[in-house]
Structure formats: C-alpha cells, structure tokens
Point group: C2
Chain length 225, copies 2
C-alpha cells in the first residue's frame, strides 16, 4: 500500500477549505480557484471529486445535516426513555429539535453559522439542486419529531401541527442566519452585546416558538383577545 496516511486526502482538504471559505464569503463570491489554492490542490479536483461547485456545497451541507440529525434523534430518544410511555411536553420536543440546532452556534468548530446561512440560501434557490433538506435521512428525523408533536398535542389537528412546524423552522432559520440581527437592532434600544448573545437568543426564540405552536387555532380570525 502506498497510501500516505499522514496527509489528508485531497477530498478532505477540499471540504475543509471550502467550508471555511463559503462561510466567509458566501457561496457565490467564493471561487473554485480560491478553494483549490487554499487546499493546495489542482483546480480540476473539485470537478473530479464532486462534479461541480454546487455539489461540493451539497456534500458539505449533507455532512453537517447528518451530524445534526444524529444529535437531534439522540436528544429525542433520551427524552422518551426518561418519560417512559408518557407523552412528551411540546417544550421538550422543541428543545430537542431547535435547541440542538441553536447549540451548534456556540461551538465555533462546528461552523454552525455558515451551515445555517448556506442552508437558508439553498432553500431559497429556485432550482433546488441542493436538496439536502428533502433527502431521506433528514426527512425521517423530521417525521419522527412531527409524530412526537402529534402525540404531545392530541387536540390540535395534524394539519396545523405540520404547518406550525414549518413556521418554526422558518423563524429559526431566519433568526440564526444572522441577517436581520445586525441591522434590525441599530434603531432599537438594544445593546450590541445583548444582541449577539447566543444564549439569550435561544431563550427568546424558544419562548416564541412555543407560543406559536400552542396558539389557539385561528384565534386571529375569531378575533377574540
């Protein structure tokens, strides 16, 4: 065997460098040349290993998403084990799903911020070549959580729960992608330090999500306070 074990494979080097550069400049502004230069590999290697720049991004997202879903599932299983056969509380389910995601932000190494920005980006693109979101494994986990919510909220129509799950994902994606944060609070009387705090973001967002999830059906249209 002439495999050189002390050097990273080209493929690995590419993914690591790409992740960093995508995070810094965004997908569009990051060029293949810059990535291959940083990784000290040939320009064409991206095409060889991944097929295209887009597919490289896809692989990166899949890697992260896979890890995230693993964590989420573990969190859910732990909760279910503890509570025996009793239904979980909605707040616990949200903690396992969104809390796990939000915790990613704290760990610099996991590149959570870039992950979420890119995930957001890819879900906004019309040509959804980047379909990590709808991929098998990811969907299975989502479905698992959906079922948990069904159980936890037996009186709410399943339809509504699915929709609200969707809304929660939206609020979270947006909040995390950081976009508004810097801008929105310039005019508001909120200190910079506070606006950056990830811990507070989590508290606040979770509270918001839970309120939305448990909102009376069509309370707005019924018009009652």
């Amino acid at each position: 065997m002439n495999m050189n074990l002390e050097e990273k494979k080209t493929c690995e080097k590419l993914m690591d460098c790409a992740e960093k550069i995508f995070a810094e400049k965004g997908y569009d502004k990051a060029s293949i040349r810059e990535i291959t230069n940083a990784a000290n590999v040939n320009l064409a290697s991206v095409h060889y290993h991944f097929g295209s720049k887009e597919k490289l991004l896809q692989k990166l997202l899949d890697r992260k998403l896979h890890w995230l879903n693993h964590q989420r599932l573990n969190a859910l299983k732990t909760l279910e084990k503890k509570s025996k056969s009793k239904a979980l509380k909605p707040s616990q389910i949200l903690e396992a799903f969104f809390g796990t995601l939000l915790d990613m932000l704290d760990e610099k190494d996991y590149g959570g911020e870039m992950f979420l920005r890119l995930l957001g980006r890819s879900s906004l693109e019309p040509n959804c070549i980047i379909s990590s979101i709808s991929n098998g494994k990811s969907n299975a986990v989502t479905q698992r959580f959906r079922d948990a919510l069904f159980k936890a909220l037996p009186n709410v129509p399943k339809n509504e729960i699915v929709w609200r799950f969707h809304f929660m994902v939206g609020a979270t994606s947006y909040a995390i992608s950081g976009n508004g944060l810097n801008k929105l609070f310039v005019t508001a009387e909120i200190s910079e330090a506070e606006s950056v705090s990830k811990r507070l973001l989590k508290k606040r967002l979770m509270s918001f999500l839970l309120g939305g999830l448990r909102s009376p059906i069509n309370s707005f249209l019924i018009g009652k306070k």
Copy 2:
C-alpha cells in the same frame, strides 16, 4: 424634444424583464445577456443605467419595498383613525404589517413571490451590498409598527417585542418564499391543493405569529405547562 413617449425607456424595459427573469431563475442563474436580450436592449445598458447586475437587483427590491411600505403605512393609519386614541389590538397591527405582505402573493402582477425570494436571498448574503432592508424609509415604517406594538402590549418589555418582531419576520419570509412548502408536505398527509392555497396560508401564519408574539416571557425556561 425628441423624446419618444410611446416607447418604454430602456431603463423601464430592463427593470420589467429583469424582474421576471430573476423570479424564474434566481439571481445567480439569470445572466445580464438574457435580460438585455429579452428587453431588446444592448448588453452594456445594464451597466450604464444601474452600474452593475447587483445594483439592478437593488433597484428592483427598492421599488417593491417602497410600494409595500406605503400600503402598510396606509393600513396602519386607517386602523388608528378608526380606533381613535385607543390602543390597537396586536392582531390588527399584525394584519396591517404581515397581512399586507401576504396579500401581495395573491396578485400575480405584483410579483410578490419573486420579491420575497430575492429579499430573502439578499438578506442571507454575507456582503450585504443589497441593503434595501436597512434603508431609511423601510426602517421608518418598521419603527412605526414597532411603536404600535409597544403601545398595544404595554406589559411586555420592549426588548422582547423587538425580538419577537424579528422572529415574526423570519417565519413569514420563510413561509412565503415557498421553499419548504413543496418539499415538507410530500411526506405529510396534506393535499396539494390545500398546501398551495394562499388564503389558508395567511390564516394559519397569522395565528401562529400572534401566538408567538403573545407567548409568556420565558415560558419555556420556567417550564410551566
């Protein structure tokens, strides 16, 4: 004067075509060449009139945003006039702000869908050259609504209201940009027809938003049912 009044100006033709093409293919995949061809104008005219492709997008977003904010402000003023000096209900304020936005989706001509997708896109880009969102006029309107919410919810800390406003914008942007919609509901037992219905989306989203806005502070952390 040799102005030709019966023909659209190049500038106008460009904006109209760009709007359509951006909507169909997304910003990246839409090329300047395609736009100028569709508009029957010269390739260089984009740069002459707007400076760059990016600035063309910026102009488009500004145009839409200006119109939207005008509508929103009108809706708010009408409500305030009706209720005299009495504080508005949160649901009314949300209707004026988010309802107005959601109504854009129904009118094909307004290109609401593309607008929101592009707006979402631009807020996700790291280099926020596209800063329509934080531009003066837009901020003024947002602030006006924020103040209305302060009045409507005198017992909620202003901090929290600002955050929740932000979360609501996120949930709405995501819900509207349509991304999940097609994917998320494949596995769920929701009919295609229903998932497309804009009217139902509005009902559901508004209910969710209102629930989130009025959620007890930190209910999640306190842990009470």
